[in-house]
Assembly symmetry: C2
Homo-oligomer: 301 residues x 2
């Protein structure tokens, strides 16, 4: 099956980047975009985030072979309801949400007669909104698809090929396992970053001005992650509660053990952990998932 | 007083960068370097990290107006003992350690007859060793000096001017307050990063290969910090125990509150925190303490 017409519902960082990446890599595919916010639609028109920007989601999906919902995971149900009656019978419905089991459940319930293949391109920046997208966002990044046992193979193949053309590598995964993996590689890191930035902001004996001035000691890295979209991340935590709480429990146990090592002056335990953690960094760089330059190359600016 | 001859004891990232920055900005200042590791001394000679690389610390400090100890904070006492008898009477002794109260106590006890002005340039990368340094490391970064009430003002002025010529901005601070501020802007961020990378490495239901593949969701940022020098960081935690445990306690309280918000589905509490944390990022960028480009500019590579 060929995808010739794509509807993008939600024109923030992810939706906008899909539109721009399609224009760059697949100019023969027609794109139609929609966002509930009229200001975002105007910005999307100005940046040509899609070939056509529609004023209603019904119009946007009318001719689609593929509909991609690029909205916070808490809004998936409403978005699916809104397009259901206008959706062509053979359209594939997918998304870009950061948690998957709740999206699987919500979209399958809302669209029982359609082919639903949830997806998660593991890519993004701390920026959000229609100005934030760029065509290269998905290059060399993994895109995880979470089809069910009943999903037709040709639809899975079509969606895989679609993401590969945008530069992604594909992995097929069970939704529940996805949620556990991403809890540790994405959700807990965000939760921790939000927490420490909040802690630092609320201190009385250290001023906010001091926190800002001396942030190059490590803290500034956390503020980048903690500048991510609040609505998106609220929904991720509410919709991946079980896996997040499970991983948070393990993190807290490990942090408590380190706290005890510091309190008791156990330098060997600290040195042992601090040595082990270097190996995983090397692998991430070797596999092209991060920049090898010191400080992410910031100093080269 | 003029600083015409600088001895750099320890030729890793910080020591090497001081030597290279001096060659760039102050070619008229003579530099002598020493490292206890002969392999590091050879590498330092090959990279010209100092004008002369001595084979003993006694030789290195013999003519120094300023001696900078660039060794892990746990090694400060040994380094001070080693140079004591060779140290010119009027030499200023300083350092670059990340905790300051323990360094103040150690150096003043070891060198009671010398002018000791501990310092902390808040700059670094995750790399270490004699290959890691570069001349621009200190530009636009703060350097915190922690003199005592008895320190002669002209010595403070001389050391301030020295760091300003390397591109730094100067702040004078009480050592104890420094340790509290840096606990939150540097030490706790490192501790958290080491912990989450360790947690992720030890999971059974998520493989290490999965952690690496999907690290672009946020985790990879933490692995950079957790690739920092193990000995340096072990010593920081052992030598800034009180402030680190104090700040860790506050962080843990805040994390527990967020955990409760997730468990009870309190989306408003999450959204509120996630919105507040954006402001501090903006200030850090406005004040030139981080790169404004999305993703630290990594995507521009």
């Amino acid at each position: 099956m060929a995808i010739g017409n794509v509807a993008i519902i939600g024109l923030g960082l992810l939706g906008g980047s899909i539109g721009l990446a399609l224009a760059k890599h697949c100019p023969e595919i027609a794109t139609t975009g929609f966002d509930t916010d009229p200001v975002t639609r105007d910005a999307a028109r100005a940046r040509n985030l899609a070939g056509t920007i529609s004023n209603t989601s019904i119009e946007a999906v009318a001719n689609a072979d593929l509909v991609i919902l690029c909205v916070p995971v808490g809004a998936m149900g409403f978005a699916a309801e809104a397009i259901r009656d206008a959706l062509p019978k053979n359209a594939i419905v997918s998304d870009v949400g950061s948690s998957k089991q709740s999206v699987v459940d919500t979209l399958r319930a809302a669209l029982p007669d359609h082919c639903v293949i949830p997806a998660h391109p593991v890519a993004g920046t701390e920026q959000s909104g229609p100005e934030a997208g760029f065509a290269e966002l998905f290059e060399h990044r993994w895109c995880i698809l979470t089809p069910s046992a009943e999903t037709p193979q040709d639809s899975i193949d079509a969606l895989s090929e679609f993401w590969e053309r945008l530069g992604s590598k594909i992995e097929i995964m069970d939704a529940k396992h996805h949620d556990l993996v991403l809890a540790v590689t994405s959700h807990i890191p965000h939760l921790i970053a939000y927490t420490i930035v909040g802690t630092a902001s609320d201190l009385e004996d250290v001023t906010r001005s001091e926190v800002i001035k001396y942030s190059a000691g490590g803290f500034r890295d956390f503020t980048r992650i903690a500048a991510s979209d609040p609505t998106m991340w609220r929904d991720v935590f509410l919709n991946n509660k079980d896996a997040v709480l499970e991983m948070l429990g393990r993190f807290t146990e490990d942090l408590t053990a380190l706290q005890r090592a510091i309190r008791s002056g156990d330098g060997d335990a600290l040195h042992d952990l601090f040595t082990r953690t270097r190996a995983i960094r090397r692998s991430i760089i070797e596999q092209g998932q991060d920049d090898a330059r010191p400080d992410f190359g910031r100093s080269d600016h």
